[in-house]
Amino acid sequence: MKPADSRRLFTDPVADSVLAETRRQFFARGARGLGAAALATLFGEDLTAALVGNESPGGLPGLPHFAPTAKRAIYLHMVGAPPQMDLFDYKPAMKDWYDKDLPDSIRKGQRLTTMTSGQSRFPIAPSVFKFSQHGQSGAWISELLPWTAKMVDEMAIIRTMHTEAINHEPAITFIQTGQQIAGRPCVGSWIAYGLGSMNQDLPTFVVLNASHSHPKAGVQAISAKLWSSGFLSSKYAGVALRSGKDPVLFIKNPEGMPAPMRRRMLDALGELNQMQHDKTGDPEIRARIAQYEMAYRMQTSVPELTDLTKEPQSVLDWYGEDARRAGTFAHSCLLARRLVERGVRFVQIYQRGWDVHRDLPEVLPAMCKDVDQGCYALVKDLKARGLLKDTLVIFGGEFGRTMYSQGKLTPTDYGRDHHPRCFTFWAAGGGIKGGVVHGETDEFSYNIVRDPVHVRDLQATILRCFGIDHERFAYKTQGLDARLTGVEPATPVKAILA
């Protein structure tokens, strides 16, 4: 094919022939499907896989380090920090301590936030909620989580998580990125970077922000930095799906431009871009053609993803009434299942509202009601589809809360301040041992007495499930091998691994 453009600037005859050859291959597939042809050539799984020697396109060679137990994860982050002693960490002895001061022998002069450091007293506020034992494991669960209680034998409950940060912003940043100050990749980005994508038309890492129902809920800020890729390429950043009519930013064609028109435009655009490529020889143009085709495919796959009309009634019933309202936690859980089912690696759900500094007995039941059934349905649904065995589900906040009351304490009313020294997480699926209750805190749920699990240990555990050795998974930046788990030692929590 002789190029018609006389203004071409190539002077190299060798280049000419090579490019002509390329064009022949290219046009052999027909001009109509030009963009799609480029895509197939560039992204055909076989070719890509052969080139990078990895079953998941884009993953790093050599990863996973060993057989993974999880291929996907859904991380349910309760922003604001749920009070562990009102939900999972049962402390019956506290009943006798009502309104007595937290002993200095327990507090040990540890630092407090400036919200309660000025308080003259630290009166113990026993949980007003009832606990009972569940499942084979006999785990104690609060009455506020009746659905979660039904699945304790699927879950490993870690009661001895601890962190270093004492305020939300640094603590969330820490648990998501391994550092308290913004600038590092979050766990989802690390996974995307290390293991790559498992699908052709959805992001590798998706973020959902779920709503809450109680008007007095303590809502904390989150920000795009929590799903940013830090020093990794921004292509590993999480894509926030939105609950409105545009689940992905700019996904919808403008009104008045139906899909066939967009298709027609892309075909013409592809042809013109190819001409430009012929003139300049810039490989990036081919990449651009491919990305426009990918965008077009997303325009179909995303609406299909968010369309729940084909979900069976029985499944919708598991998730409850909330699942029908976009943006609720239950709806987000259902969406998360659909995402992992379609090959998304990492789904992060944030639910804000857990910062119970006051009115805890009033607010907490509502917060629990928002999430309880969704958690249960998600695990059950994944299990029913055979996905649970290699999908890791984790649940928790960024730190715990104090046994003493912040502000006024009455038999029916109290609040709790931030507490970094212990808090509870649970995990299920993806290689996690069910029916495990790990670690023990003192009777004030203040200090850990057995089996502490640092935030870094949790991160190492998540990586472990994905078949990654956290010590060998690094990215060179500023001359250092930066790791999710940082430079301090970290150990996966073997006791909760199946």
Partner: protein, 1080 residues
């Protein structure tokens, strides 16, 4: 979709040339490592040349050895350093690491080649390993005599001689000699010169950030003079858009944004700094002045307001006011940010690495880090930002037309204050007389009785109410009782449960009138919401005013039409203590805006948390409900108490409030004999006398008050900006053990890193000294780092790719001599920016066509050797600005408050705190929709969505090198963002109107604006065919056509048939998405 893109170039190149050597290395390197820095270079290095220690050997040592045998004393093993000359060549007990000329005798070489696993270096457990190629290099280096040099970046650059080249006729200026020499050595030829249209577009984008006007392109194309290109460049350099475009890059480095960044992420007024940057580039402020004024403008003798504004550079960092934040921790974070930023922008050093321990690779100690931090820890800025828009120190920036008067007021104010002081001194004798006289005893109210609308106090054992000076009987309801007050001997009204006191309606209060409320009260324990007093109408959405306490923060709320409120919220820094007495006064001046409200705490003015910008009191607050003390709606004052409550019909001055706060104490002291007065009582009476009784003082105080009102009015019209202000003390800091704020160790004084030339003894040890040290002609980094960053702007990649890391782990320069030549040229040329950019864009190197050949793709894949012209995707802002400019929508005005263009719903709400004043994004309308993108409001926790998609940074940290990815999300934004659709329609409309019925001319109209050249025949054919298809569709779908052309706020031209306009809009949308349009 977002699969890592590394597979892409690989496949592309495989397709193109069956050649993927240079990327396949990257694919095979172990996880977590980047390809060895030598890979790219080894392809292009001239063969059999002498080994370059800087480029080839030091990186290997740095990467593999320095961690244990480098600068960090704490982790150094075997007391061996391989980063210094002595360490490498001095004999040791175990032998000499490197014996020049003799690899076999060199312990270093023996240890890296030994078959004994336990002796092998680097050790197996380090997970580092040398390749055979690297070992070979080290061997040959030793054989060649092991030449050693200090790390290149720490030696002062000197002007190298221009290298010889074969093809001398290609050379236009010195740059080209260096570039060509390297190309010739690599067996490559430069590309031909780009045609004039391409050049016009490229250089317009590089100098103004906007596409050229078609007329300017034609004039340039037709300019026959030898100076045609230079003329074209000169015109761009005088364009006002030059400063905007340069400023945008700088604002990334300065981490400029319109919010604080953390937690509430409230509005911060900072845009005068942004405008200063634009203006500095436009008046071509020499770069040395540019640095000095930003780092230390406040320390310049007789500094101007502009120089103060410039110091905003280090006030742009993200700040916090999160509940519970610990001040020392936050202060340490700010200092680190400033050191990191200084490292990135001026030094090209990763200073942050030395915050927890000595740097592992570069000779920077932890002490160096904290010595540098000391320069920044000596300012008056507090650690918490107060969630306010004007966190101190900040200054008012009046409008230009107010400036003269503003300065005059300052002088007048000072003179009035001096006269007032003198008047008081003179009046001292009269005061003494008054003190002994009867008047003192009879004074009945602290301020003019005529101004007092209502006063509730307790006299002895009974409540006393005065309404406009007339006593009115009060009966205490059950639950309100007398108890202790804030001073002994006085009683207060104590409230319990839901009890409250109902007083008569205060009529004179209205939205447009000033009024004030001052209260002595007791803060109940607990975090609940309490009502101190309120006069509001429950039947009219609480229209009126309310003074409440929520979580121990005082809040004054004016509620107008439909429940719209104006709120003065005390900030968290001044949160009240529970179970304590306070005097608080709120003052409102009747102007309905946030600055109308002032809060005084214990007689002193206190900061307010920011109201949402643009907040305004709408409608009337006037009502006829009773004044309720201790209740509003279903909220009460359980556990609180009130000793004194007064309402005034005017604004209160600080002196007034001080008097009010102390009045009760004076009243008690009134019967005392003069001699028996305690010193503070005496002082109080003195204040009273001069504020209320002494005519001269009162007259002067009145003038002062008028002046202040005028000043406030000017401030209100103007803006605020954050500045730096030095403390009196000597700059110092503590070394923080492992970077932890609560583990301070040695105190260090402000000083610069030891490895760099020392600060001259004449330089002050403050920010001014630091700035001048950066500009020392011996400084090896400032000029190099700057010219490299400029090079990166123009050519896409710096000569040193790691723009912010010139240390031993950074990438060595591709053209070290060129870098040094440019550094010296820039400095010796008087730090003249325009001259320097002109040098770059007039070089033959820059003017090359951006055309690759397979040979070049093989030998110079990333164009690091500059074998062709720059061609890369434009930055986020440029893409949007391009569409606006090409379509004719751009509103080109310069500067002013940030604007809010279109943005999809929910971007802010999804992340914001409920009480954040940047929770809801409301896009502007009219001209603000079409301003250049550097004026778009930048919320750090949710930057403009369309910008972020194209790799715009969040501005949370200093960014000197943006990423440049290519993703489907970018395609979606460029295709579907309403801004892009509206631009397409506007462009289409102009094309149709410019050449009715003539498709070819319409295409010429479009192409001239989009690609600065006419489309060729094939391009026209493809586009015509698409247009016909679009038209066929829209002719049969008129509703769709009408819908499509309605996008955006501007209106389509009604004279054009909808199907035609829609079809042409599709064409324009298609063309706006051309790769050629999206790249420079």
């Amino acid at each position: 979709m977002l699969r890592p893109r590394s597979a892409l170039p690989l496949a592309v190149v495989a397709l193109l040339a069956g050649q993927f050597l240079f990327t396949s290395n990257a694919q095979q390197s172990p996880p977590g490592s980047k390809p060895p820095a030598t890979v790219t270079r080894s392809v292009v290095a001239p063969k059999a040349a002498a080994i370059d220690f800087q480029r080839e050997i030091r990186p290997i040592l740095s990467d593999n050895c320095f961690f244990c045998h480098g600068p960090d004393e704490a982790t150094r093993l075997a007391d061996l350093r391989l980063d210094t000359r002595e360490g490498l060549f001095a004999a040791r007990d175990s032998g000499t690491p490197v014996v020049p000329g003799n690899p076999a005798a060199s312990v270093l070489y023996r240890r890296i080649t030994t078959p004994e696993k336990e002796r092998l270096m680097p050790p197996v457990h380090s997970k580092k390993a040398l390749t055979d190629g690297q070992k070979d290099l080290l061997r040959r280096w030793i054989e060649q005599g092991a030449p050693w040099k200090e790390h290149w970046a720490f030696a002062t650059p000197s002007r190298p001689p221009l290298p010889a080249v074969k093809n001398a006729s290609w050379v236009r200026n010195a740059i080209d000699r260096f570039v060509l020499a390297r190309l010739e050595a690599s067996g490559l030829q430069p590309a031909v010169e780009a045609d004039r249209r391409t050049l016009a577009r490229r250089v317009s984008l590089d100098l103004a950030g906007l596409p050229p006007e078609p007329e300017a392109v034609e004039a340039f194309v037709n300019d026959k003079s030898a100076q045609a290109y230079e003329t074209f460049v000169d015109r761009l350099l005088t364009s006002k858009h030059w400063g905007e475009h340069r400023g945008r890059y700088w604002l990334d480095a300065a981490r400029y944004a319109d919010t604080h960044g953390v937690h509430l992420d409230n509005y911060r007024e900072m845009w005068p700094y942004r405008d200063w940057v634009i203006d500095a580039f436009n008046r071509n402020l020499p770069y040395d002045r540019f640095i000095i004024e930003q780092i230390a403008g406040d320390l310049i003798p007789n500094r101007t307001m502009e120089q103060q504004i410039a110091t905003g550079f280090h006030r742009c960092n993200a700040t916090t006011n999160e509940d519970g934040a610990i001040a020392d921790e936050v202060a340490a974070i700010y200092a680190k940010d400033r050191v990191d930023t200084t490292g990135s922008v001026f030094l090209g050093l990763t200073m942050g690495c030395a915050s927890c321990h000595d740097h592992k690779f570069d000779p920077i100690s932890q002490r160096d880090f904290y010595s540098l931090a000391a320069f920044f820890r000596n300012t008056t800025q507090g650690p918490l930002d107060g969630n306010v828009w004007d966190t101190p120190p900040s200054i008012v920036v009046p409008r230009p037309e107010d400036l003269a008067r503003w300065n005059q007021i300052s002088t007048e104010e000072a003179s009035l204050k001096a006269r007032l002081k003198a008047a008081r001194t003179e009046g001292e004798a009269d005061f003494a007389k008054w003190l002994d006289g009867q008047d003192r005893v009879s004074a009945s109210s602290p301020l003019e009785p005529a101004d007092e609308l209502l006063a509730l106090t307790v006299q002895g054992e009974r409540p006393r109410l005065l309404v406009k000076g007339n006593p009115v009987a009060v009966t205490l309801p059950e639950g309100v009782s007398l108890g202790d007050a804030h001073i002994a001997g006085q009683k207060a009204l104590h409230f319990s449960g839901k009890a409250f006191l109902e007083l008569p309606n205060v009529e004179a209060i209205a939205s447009d009138r000033p009024f004030s409320v001052a209260v002595w009260f007791y803060v109940p324990a607990g975090e609940d919401s309490f009502i101190v007093a309120s006069q509001s109408d429950p039947k009219s959405k609480s229209r009126g005013w309310t003074f409440e306490l929520t979580r121990r923060t005082p809040i004054f709320r004016l509620t107008g039409l439909g429940g719209r409120v104006l709120v003065a919220r005390g900030n968290i820094i001044d949160r009240l203590k529970p179970a304590a007495w306070y005097h608080i006064a709120f003052s409102y001046d009747g102007y309905r805006v946030p600055s109308s409200l002032r809060l005084f705490l214990d007689g002193k003015e206190a900061g307010l948390e920011g109201a949402g910008e643009g907040a305004q009191l709408k409608g009337e607050i006037r009502n006829f409900s009773p004044l309720q003390v201790g209740s509003q709606g279903n909220r009460y004052f359980d556990g609180g108490a009130i000793a004194d409550l007064r309402v005034y019909n005017r604004v209160l001055s600080p002196e007034d409030v001080s008097l009010l706060a102390h009045w009760a104490a004076f009243e008690l002291a009134r019967p005392k004999k003069t001699a028996a007065l305690a010193p503070n009582e005496l002082e109080g009476f003195r204040d009273y006398y001069f504020v209320r009784e002494h005519a001269d003082s009162m007259d002067l105080a009145g003038q002062l008050q008028t002046l202040r009102a005028e000043k406030l009015a000017i401030a209100r019209r103007g803006a605020v900006t954050h500045v730096q202000q030095e403390k009196e003390s000597k700059a110092h800091a503590n070394v923080l053990f492992r970077g932890m704020y609560d583990q301070p160790r040695d105190t260090v004084e402000a000083s610069t890193p030891a490895v760099l030339p020392p600060m001259g003894s004449s330089l002050p040890r403050n920010r001014m000294g630091l700035a001048r040290w950066l500009l020392d002609p011996r400084h090896p980094l400032t000029s190099r780092v700057t010219v490299n960053r400029i090079w990166q702007e123009i050519f896409g990649t710096g000569l040193v790719k790691t723009t912010d890391d010139f240390g031993s782990q950074g990438e060595a320069p591709t053209h070290p001599d060129l870098l040094d030549w440019l550094a010296v040229e820039f400095r010796e040329g008087g730090w003249d920016l325009k001259k320097f950019y002109k040098l770059l864009v007039t070089s033959a190197t820059y003017r090359q066509a951006a055309v690759s050949t397979p040979l070049k793709l093989e030998k110079d894949p990333e164009n690091r050797l500059l074998s062709r012209g720059p061609r890369f995707r434009m930055d986020a802002e440029m893409i949007r600005d391009y569409a606006l400019a090409a379509s004719g929508l751009l509103v080109p005005s310069i500067g002013g408050p940030s604007v809010k263009p279109y943005q999809p719903d929910g971007v802010w709400e999804a992340v914001a705190m409920f009480s954040s004043n940047t929770r809801f994004y409301r896009s502007d309308s009219g001209s603000n929709l079409y301003r250049r993108s550097l004026y778009s409001f930048w919320k750090r926790s949710a930057p403009p969505a369309a910008m972020e998609v194209f790799n715009a940074p969040t501005r949370e940290n200093c960014t000197v090198r943006r990423e440049r990815t290519n993703t489907p999300l970018q395609a979606l934004a460029a295709m579907n963002d309403v801004q892009m659709i509206e631009a397409a329609r506007h462009l289409a409309q102009r094309a149709l109107l410019a050449a009715p019925g003539d498709f070819d001319r319409q295409m010429r109209f479009l192409s001239a604006r989009l690609v600065a050249r006419p489309f060729d025949e094939r391009e026209r054919a493809v586009t015509r065919k698409a247009y016909e298809d679009y038209l066929r569709f829209y002719a049969g779908a008129k509703d769709e056509a009408r819908t499509l052309i309605r996008q955006g706020e501007s209106k389509p031209d009604s004279s054009l048939p909808a199907p035609e306009l829609a079809a042409m809009t599709m064409v324009a949308n298609q063309l706006l998405n051309l790769d050629e349009v999206l790249v420079k």
